[in-house]
Amino acid sequence: MRKIRVLIAKPGLDGHDRGAKIVARALRDAGMEVIYTGLHQTPEMIVEAAIQEDVDVIGLSLLSGAHMTLFPRVLDLLRENDAQDIMVTGGGIIPEKDAEKLKGLGMTQIWGPGTPTDEIVTFIKEKMEPGARS
């Protein structure tokens, strides 16, 4: 049986991973395998881990405001590694217009602070239904 594997990563310099951990726990409790890599990850580290762990989804969590540089960098690196089939989502304090821009660049979903974890779980599960991924 195929199990959904998710990488939860915190790029950038902020040291708050409470939100990331809450999401990680919710995904685990929903039966997914969550690979957690800890704080201060560079986009390079995130993409390398995603490839080796062969995850279906990357969840980026960021509060420092550097999302417009770090998130696109992750997308670029995935493309460079021919791994753009991995779904990329993000969470944090991200203004609506930035979120739209990031989606235009290839991110699948952006969640604001305080999004119910159920919503995130349901979203990922639906996207990962058989046939949804190549």
Binding site: R5, R28, Y36, A49, Q52
Partner: protein, 313 residues
Amino acid sequence: MDLVPRILGGDRRAVARLMTLVESGAPEAKKALAELHPHTGKAHIVGITGPPGTGKSTLVDKLALEFLKRNKTVGIVAVDPSSPFTGGAFLGDRIRMSTVAMDKRVFIRSMGTRKKLGGLARGTNDFIRILDAYGKDIILVETVGAGQSEVDIVRTAHTTIIVEAPGMGDDIQAVKAGILEIGDIFVVNKADRDGVERTMRELQTMLELNPDKEGWQPPVMETVARDGVGIEEVVDKAQEHMAYLKESGMLEQGLKQRAELELLAIVREEISRHVLEKGVEREELDALLDRIMQLELDPYSAAEEVLGRLRDR
């Protein structure tokens, strides 16, 4: 494209993808593993086990770094428990492996224990086989040392390192878990903490009480994995242990034992599957179960009946 030539050619994405196929029980995985088999047998497999929080992942990170310094490439399999209820898992070993995670000569894969066909050891065995064929010289397998399935995993390793730390309660955890016998090297990590001497002494005493393994005397060593202290010595010992296995003929003997365990496990699994697919229909099985519950039939006779039907078909 076919994964096997890509793996043999050094493509890490193919390695990662085959591991996923293996875990999901995909039929094509079996074929790929068969094709990889002739390319295996070169790696030194080192199991690292012990209670949670003793610093195993940190130690694995530092051991990997030391092996890299000695011009060895490294594969890492980090196993963490899955929830038996939801099947989900939190795999956090990578947090502690950041020193080597970006090195091109290292490949790290996290694994949940899940409910695996043929047991957990089969899954890790397959991962080890893939990394071996991929060309990794050293394969480090981290598991939480708690029970039988962990012991089984460790059986697949050439060298087993058991990690303890001071202040984890009064007892030596390895003794409690009954895994003292399988240790080739004992490491007391967090030697920066109070109580190291006591833990070292207790381990030493337990090992002396234990009927000694022929030939190899398992050393008790101390490390501060967080600061990289004592790591070279552990790697020296691991390499010494491998040399000992070769010289004494234990390596060959071990390989044969391992092959037997694995073969029989696969046969067992295939037989059960065959029986369940071909031997009994679901309704027949339910009928048998009913009779067992009604105490009309005992499970041994029921099993005879199932196997009998298989023979007749």
